[in-house]
């Protein structure tokens, strides 16, 4: 149990029919780290996570999760990993308490674990309520509580905050960070950028391929993008002018600003200055955001596909 990495997989590959959903993806997640797993819809995040928890067979590639071979030691992985599915997948026709008692029974935990979890959640008084009648935020809290009841060493969360309000999301992330501080390793998939920024490291996957990984500043730096912000009265016109100009890769309005992003700083600056001149707006360089990087990467990955 001395490995430094909780997850260490190389060249994971999975096809459904003749469609390659996960294409030689390699991942490393250090113990105690919160790793973000990002990518657009249908990029293969869920499939990769399922392969790592032993829920899907691996077509090719190999690796270890908590030191267990993902190809042959599925049962051992299942005992030590907590997996929170994208869709609420506890029993809606069972009460909160019955669901927790079910999970406790499967992992051989006592009644005390159920009572403690109910108390932690603040759901003791509502324990007889059917899980199906809970709101999205509560369902998510229940699912998380059920997933960590058996004190897993690694938690895999598949888009845990979809359909959850900002306050509940904030509380959720506080909880995750607290657990990580106690030594829990977390792999969380998301497509919210603010959530990505809450992770220690991020891995970006698109169209089944791992595109980039690292800390947020690293990813932004490695992307090598430059950004200019235009402010002025005729932004819509400026946006039209900038489309397709040399050096301009993305033009995106942000409220009263217009963000112009490109890889080639010299060409970009020339185009932006020209457009600013023509529309009477003001241009100044700005920080590139993670979202801009991802949109850029997504576009490039798509181009590679075609």
């Amino acid at each position: 149990m001395a490995e430094e990495n909780a997850i260490e997989v190389t060249n994971l590959t999975k096809s459904f029919g003749d469609k390659m959903v996960v294409d030689h993806v390699s991942l490393e997640v250090k113990r105690g780290e919160i790793a973000g797993f990002l990518g657009p819809n249908g990029s293969g995040k869920t499939t990769t996570i399922r392969m790592m928890c032993g829920l899907l067979r691996v077509d090719d590639g190999e690796g270890r999760v908590l030191g267990h071979d993902i190809r042959h030691e599925g049962p051992a992985i299942k005992r030590e990993v907590g997996y929170m599915t994208q869709r609420f997948s506890f029993y809606e026709d069972l009460s909160i308490e019955e669901n927790l008692a079910f999970v406790a029974g499967i992992y051989g935990l006592g009644r005390k674990a159920v009572r403690d979890t109910l108390a932690d959640l603040g759901l003791t008084s509502r324990r007889r309520q059917l899980a199906g009648s809970l709101s999205g935020g509560w369902k998510q809290r229940l699912a998380l509580a059920a997933c960590i009841m058996h004190r897993p060493q690694l938690l895999m969360l598949d888009e845990p905050t979809a359909g959850v309000d900002p306050k509940a999301r904030r509380e959720f992330w506080d909880e995750i960070h607290q657990r990580a501080a106690d030594g829990l390793t977390v792999l969380v998939s998301t497509h919210y950028m603010d959530e990505a920024e809450r992770c220690h490291r991020i891995n970006y996957i698109a169209y089944g391929k791992l595109i980039t990984r690292g800390t947020v500043p690293e990813v932004v730096r490695d992307a090598g993008l430059s950004t200019f912000v235009l402010k002025g009265p005729r932004l819509a016109e400026a946006q039209r002018l900038l489309r397709g100009k040399p050096g301009v890769d993305q033009v995106a309005p942000y409220g009263v600003d217009l963000h112009v992003i490109g890889r080639n700083r010299v060409e970009l600056e020339a185009s932006v200055t020209e457009a600013a001149h023509a529309t009477g707006s003001e241009a100044c360089p700005a920080e590139t955001s993670l979202e801009d990087v991802f949109i850029q990467l997504m576009g490039e990955a798509q181009d590679n596909m075609e």
């Binding site: 599915t85 869709r87 609420f88 997948s89 809606e92 026709d93 019955e98 029974g105 499967i106 051989g108």
Partner: protein
């Protein structure tokens, strides 16, 4: 060992199944109410030895012999002469339109022939589109004819005096294992009802988890295929036990079905049958992907098993290939077992064949189901 099977995990899984079963009120009510309803409905409704079938009489002159003949036929209980004086043309239309099932034609010289001692003949046309319905009625004809001949050989006056008695037609229904009366239908219904609920409910066991998305969660936990199978299947033994008690009780109290054999032998046979059914249902569940498909496969399985098992039609009446097909259905063997034990008082040695066959089904279905089970979501 704890990795493959743990009693604690199994009990946890079973508890969960039981709660879900209880919460699904409609299905639960159906599982307990439907057997009783079906039993009452089919027990009283299904009768393939129908009596009082409408008949037409074509007679040139309605002399005493004709009247005696008609009375004799009506006495059998099979014939009701709703058209006692039809012309041949009318009679042909009546039978074609289905208003009558039989046409009895008495030749004009019947009286003369009987008095002469000549062999008298009457013609009975039966609508044989439903052979089962007409067979009982046709079987009484020989008796009626021979009575007429018998009477003709006696003295005329004597014959007249004894006419009423002599013409009595006694239908002797000898013991007939496929005689399809309530005694036969009710034990058979137990098999059909058990099959209906057990297979259908368990067929949906896994697909329900898959469709609701809970399968992903269940599989991500350390449970083994054996535990899941047992947990899905065992609660239905309880439901099955209640159904068995209800049907057997009703058979006794409402239908007065005789019960001559050993009750423990019967229970052993029923247990084997239920095991084969729930595991078959589970096998279906492990093959199909949606609850809809599970229903379709179940119904696809029901029809041949009801038609070819000997429940509805005599097993020995089927051609060889159909009998072979029938042999592959657990219901066939269950029917042999329950009819043997309940009605004929068969002992363990007599029903060893069906019992073994059902045990073999249990084993085959269980092995197939466990090998089919998808431990992963692939």
């Amino acid at each position: 060992m704890r990795r493959i099977f743990s009693l604690g995990r199994l009990l946890t899984l079973i508890r969960k199944e039981a709660i879900q079963m209880r919460r699904d009120r409609l299905t639960f009510a159906m599982m307990l109410g439907v057997p009783l309803m079906q039993l009452l409905l089919f027990g009283f409704a299904i009768n393939s030895d129908p009596k009082h079938l409408p008949a037409a009489l074509v007679a040139a002159d309605q002399d005493k012999y004709t009247r005696a003949m008609v009375t004799a036929l009506e006495m059998t209980g099979y014939y009701d002469f709703t058209y006692p004086d039809a012309t041949p043309g009318e009679a042909a239309r009546l039978i074609a339109s289905g208003k009558v099932v039989f046409v009895v034609t008495v030749p004009s010289d019947l009286g003369e022939r009987i008095e002469r001692g000549d062999h008298p003949q009457i013609l009975i046309e039966a609508d044989a589109t439903d052979p089962a319905a007409a067979s009982g009625a046709i079987s009484t004809l020989g008796a009626v004819a021979s009575d007429a001949v018998l009477r003709a050989t006696g003295q005329e006056w004597d014959a007249k005096a004894r006419a009423a008695r002599e013409l009595q037609v006694v239908v002797h229904k000898r013991y007939n294992p496929e005689g399809l009366t309530q005694f036969n239908i009710v034990p058979g219904l137990l098999g059909v009802i058990l099959q209906m609920t057990m297979v259908m409910m368990t067929a949906m066991a896994l697909t329900r988890e898959t469709e609701r998305g809970t399968m992903e969660n269940l599989l991500s936990m350390p449970v083994s295929p054996l535990e899941i199978m047992l947990a899905k299947v065992l609660p239905y033994f309880g439901v099955g036990a209640v159904q068995v008690l209800v049907v057997l009780g009703a058979a006794r109290v409402i239908f007065h079905v005789p019960f001559v054999g050993s009750i423990w032998l019967l229970f052993a046979g029923i247990l084997l049958f239920v095991m084969s059914l729930v595991i078959l249902g589970y096998l279906i569940s492990s093959v199909v992907r949606t609850q809809m498909q599970a229903m379709q496969v179940t119904i696809f399985y029901f029809l041949p098993s009801i038609l070819l098992s000997g429940f509805m039609f005599p097993f020995r009446g089927m051609p060889g290939w159909a009998q072979y097909l029938g042999e592959t259905l657990p219901l066939t063997h269950f029917l042999r077992m329950i009819r043997g034990v309940m009605l004929k008082g068969a002992g363990p040695a007599d029903v060893a064949g069906p019992l073994w066959m059902m045990a073999v089904f249990v084993l085959i279905f269980a092995l197939l189901a466990l090998s089919r089970f998808r431990r992963t979501l692939d």
